[in-house]
Structure formats: C-alpha cells, structure tokens
Amino acid sequence: MFENLSTKLDRAFKTLKGQGSITDVNVASTVKEIRRALIDADVNYKVAKQVTDKIKEEALGQDVLISVSPGQLFIKIVSDELTKLMGGSAEPLSTEGSPAIILISGLQGSGKTTFSGKLASLIKKQGKDVLLTACDIYRPAAIDQLKVLGEQVGVDVYAEPENKNAVEIANNALDYAKKNGKKVVIVDTAGRLAVDEQMMDEIAALKKSLNPTETLFVVDSMTGQDAVNTAKAFNDRLDFNGVVLTKLDGDTRGGAALSIRTVVEKPIKFISYGEKMEALDVFHPDRMAQRILGMGDVVSLVERA
C-alpha cells in the first residue's frame, strides 16, 4: 500500500518537478490521492477532507527540487501532520486516588472485558492492588468471562450475579475495595450502542455515581465510517478521558483512530494487539500515522535495522 501510494504520488509529481515548488494548481491530484488513501484506511470522509486541506496548505511553497522522490517528501509531510493530529506523544493513565476508579465503556464486542483484564494485569505489575468489577449484567456469561481473566492475571473480581443494578454493584465493589485495601478499581460494563437511550442512561449513571478517575472508551480498530458518530455520542454523554484501540494485531489500517482523535479531541491511551493478557501497549501516534498510510512495513524495517 505504501509503495502504491508513494508511486502514485511520484507520478503525480513528475510534471511538478520542473516547476520547482508545490503550488495550488499542481498539488490538486496529489491531494486527491492522499484523500483516497485515507478513506481506504477508514478515515472518516469529512475528517479526510479536513486533513487533506490542511496538508495542502502545509505543502504549499515547499521546494520539490531538493527531493529525489517528491512522493516520499509529500508522504513525510502527511505522516508528520497525522502524527501531530493524533497527539504527538503518548499520554499516561492516572491511577491516583483512594482508590482510583477506571470506568470502561464501548460498543458490543469492542474488547472491553479483555482490556479490563489486561489493564488489571499491567497495574498489578506496577505494584498496585487492583480489583476488577463485573458490571455487565446482560451478556450471557459476561461475569464468568471476567472471572476467568481475573484468575489468569491473579486479580480479584467483584461480582453479584443476582443483582440487576449496575450502579449498585459498582458502589458495593467500591466499598469492598476500600475495606480490602485495593488501590485501583476497574469497572467492566456491558457493550452498548450509542443510540440505545436506556443503556446510555445506565453508563451515564455509573459515571455520575462513581466519579471515576479515568473513563475510557474502547473501540475496535477495524471500525469504519461510523466510528466518529459513536465516539461523539459516547463523549457527549460521558466526557471520557481517553480511548483504547483494540485488535491492532489484524491488518486493518485503523483510520478510525485519526477520525476519533480529530472529532472528540481525546487522547488514545492504549492499544490492544491480541487476545493474550500481555498484548497491551501505550499508544504511539507516529506509528499509527504510518500504519494509516500503509507504511507499517517501513516502520518495522527501520526498527529491525
């Protein structure tokens, strides 16, 4: 894909080279290629337009002559811009509080429960006593799933299988945590659609009642154009602090990351890249930018060298 885009851009720039610098006129077809590449990577249609307009301005006036391959020069401009848009550097998670409360939210099947287990494991390794809380009272075997993961990573799981009130369960978990010296409480919740009023009310009530240290929005990196609508709707109700991007062990380009970051302006804090409990990393905006542009291979080549 990167080769592809790079070649296309080189071609688009052929005529341009004789002209010295990038101008409004000669940049049009290049910008179109970039926009198309972004949309192919699942960047939202409107976001792709905004971004390429910005890139166009950035590129205007730059000297093409100095570059052997103007396509690559342009890609560098684009990739720098995308990196900037995605936050520049990684943002940490706060686990301060007595105890700190981390509320997990997101659509069905996005990877919330798996991430809860991973995060518990990570925090435990940092030497803090963690409690996992099972507030998904709907999905068949959701509690069992969290219990299995808790056991795998050696973290207690608080659950009340008979209780059908998520807010009550969460508050009881908090009491339990205080009594038992837990420093961090992670609250796993049911998957829900942003258009499901009742379920959105539930998670809003959880947030209000718990006043969490961090509220995280977990999103599948394979998500398409709808990512912005969902992220916006969750953010409107929850004003979350950070995003978790999952399933990056696949071959999706993950344009949703850029869309979400641009639209809700909240940092992406973690990436999840596998089903194993260790497959968790902090987010690197530069790597993500290169992935969206299809430059993944280039990055790993550089890393290997």
Binding site: R36, I39, D40, A41, D42, N44, Y45, L107, Q108, G109, S110, G111, T113, Y138, R139, P140, A141, A142, D144, Q145, L146, K147, V148, L149, Q152, L193, A194, V195, D220, M222, T223, G224, Q225, D226, A227, N229, T230, K247, D249, G250, D251, T252, R253, G255, A256, E275
Partner: protein, 301 residues
C-alpha cells in the same frame, strides 16, 4: 445531515431537463455511499453506472431515477447471487444440515448462532449446537446459556479442548439423534493468523469425515460497523473455508454496513441474515431492497 427524501429529490431536481447528472449531485451521492462504508472503488463503480444509465435511458420521471439508483446498488448485491431468502429455512437432507460459523473476534458469531437456533426451533426443526470455541474465556458457558435460553442441546468438551474434535462429535451426535440442523460455533480469529486459519480448515475436514457434504453452509459473520477491512476478512476466510453465506450484525446501530456491497459483488457470496440487536428475536433474513434503502435513511432510533 441529509435524509433519504432530500438526496433523492435533490438528485431528481438537479437532473430534470439535463442529460447528465451534475457534479454536485454526484458529490452528495458519493458522500452518502462513502460514509456508509461502501468504499472508494465500489462508490466509483456505482456512480459510473448511474451516469451511464442516465445517459442511455434519458430517464423519464423523478420516480424512475429513484428506482435506477436503488436498482444499480442492489444489482451489485445480487449479480450471480441467489435470491433473498424468504424465511429461515434449511433443505431437508438425510443427514443434518451443518452450518459452520466463522469470523473475526467479537463480531457476533455466538449470538447469531443462538438467534438462528431459536428461529429453526420455532419452525419445528431439531437443532444441535457445537461449542468449538474452546479458547476465549467463558465462550463455552456463553453458548450453553444460549442453548438453555432457546431450548436446544449443546455438545461441548469444555474449555481448552480440541475444537475439531468438538465439531466431529457435534456432527456425530447430530446424526445419531436425528437432528435437522447442527450449528458449530468457532473461536473468533483474525484472518492474518495463519495457524488459526488452518485450524478452521481442519475443523472442516474432520466434520467431513463424518458427513462428507458438510458443512453445508460456512457462515461468515461480519460486524456491520467494520470498515474496509471486512473485504479482506471475506477474502481470507473464503480461502480457508469456502465461505458460502454472510451475516451482518449490529445493524441496529448507526453503522450502515455498506462494505458488504463490494464484498458481495467481488466474491459472489450472498448475505443471508442481519443482526439487529442482542435479543433472541433480533435476527432477520436479508432483504436487498430494504438494505439499500437503509443506506439512504438516517437512523431514527
């Protein structure tokens, strides 16, 4: 935001008395298609077809243009494909009709199986489920709970056992107990993981040892909110298991699932079912025209 009326009437207005659909209209159409995850290639294809047809037929009325647009999109969903299913039916066979359900992680495989089992049971079929996701935490429990909910038996060997051997036993037990339908759940897997994809081929081979024609259907479940990666999923799962049908889930949200238009056109795999919720009745047989209409309808819920 535009609603269905506005795009159609806009297109109609814009081209009345012209022989060409103008750019502004095509831009609107492009935006609707792209934001429905139809993808750039397929969008371009649809727009070219409409331009051609409008030039050729010189359309007569507003309602006709509306029809052209819907037809052109629907035709991509149906070329070389079978017709839409009328109902949840399976052919009468001497052996059980075996359905192998595959897909990436978290798309809704297990839930779709529960819903399908309910529909077949309702129509008097004897259904058996096979819990061959022995990997994901509590996956077996989840399927067993679905089995209880819809009143069908589940063959399971517990967690961390060999999935192929569960599938084999499900087929065997299906034959022995005279089941009409056997549905096998598998663990979610990303298509770029070679070992896991090979495991699917193995499950298939093992089932064939017992019922040579099985699986009669390999159902690929796609999450309706997935973007362009769904096309790669379709390609890779087809390579490993000859996918014969698709189900698109989570269409009760605001995602449109437009990526299946290109998939259906490229791979000639029919979409059979759509998932529209988490409850047992939230599964419908796929209807092309309704699906196309939904691309142009703002979600109201």
């Amino acid at each position: 935001e535009k609603s269905s009326q506005s795009i159609f009437s806009k297109i109609s207005k814009a081209i009345v008395g012209k022989s060409k659909v103008d750019d502004e209209v095509l831009d609107d159409l492009e935006e609707i298609l792209i934001t429905s995850d139809v993808g750039v290639d397929t969008t371009v294809k649809i727009i070219e077809r409409i331009e051609e047809r409008v030039a050729r037929d010189k359309y007569a009325s507003v309602s006709e243009l509306d029809k052209i647009l819907r037809e052109e999109i629907a035709s991509l969903l149906s070329e070389n494909n079978t017709e839409d299913l009328e109902d949840f039916v399976v052919p009468e066979l001497k052996t059980p009709y075996v359905i192998l359900v595959v897909g990436v992680n978290g798309v809704g495989k297990t839930t779709t199986i529960g819903k399908l089992a309910a529909q077949y049971t309702k129509r008097g079929k004897k259904v058996l489920l096979g819990a061959a996701d022995t990997f994901r935490a509590a996956a077996v429990d989840q399927l067993i709970l679905w089995g209880e909910r819809v009143g069908v038996p589940v063959v399971s060997h517990g967690m961390n056992t060999d999935p192929a051997s569960v599938a084999f036993d499900a087929a065997k037990q299906g034959v022995e107990t005279g089941a009409d339908v056997v549905i096998i759940d598998t663990a979610g897997r990303l298509h770029n993981k070679v070992n896991l994809m090979n495991e699917l081929s193995k499950i298939k081979r093992v089932v064939q040892k017992f019922i040579p024609e099985a699986p009669h259907d390999v159902l690929l479940v796609l999450d309706g909110s997935t973007g362009q990666n769904a096309a790669i999923q379709a390609r890779e799962f087809t390579k490993a298991t000859d996918v014969s049908a698709m189900a698109i889930t989570k269409l009760d949200g605001t995602a449109k699932g437009g990526v299946v238009i290109g998939i259906s056109d490229e791979f000639k795999i029919p979409v059979k079912y759509i998932g529209v919720g988490e409850q047992v009745d939230d599964l419908q047989v796929f209807n092309k025209m309704e699906f196309v209409d939904s691309l142009f309808n703002k979600s109201e819920k």
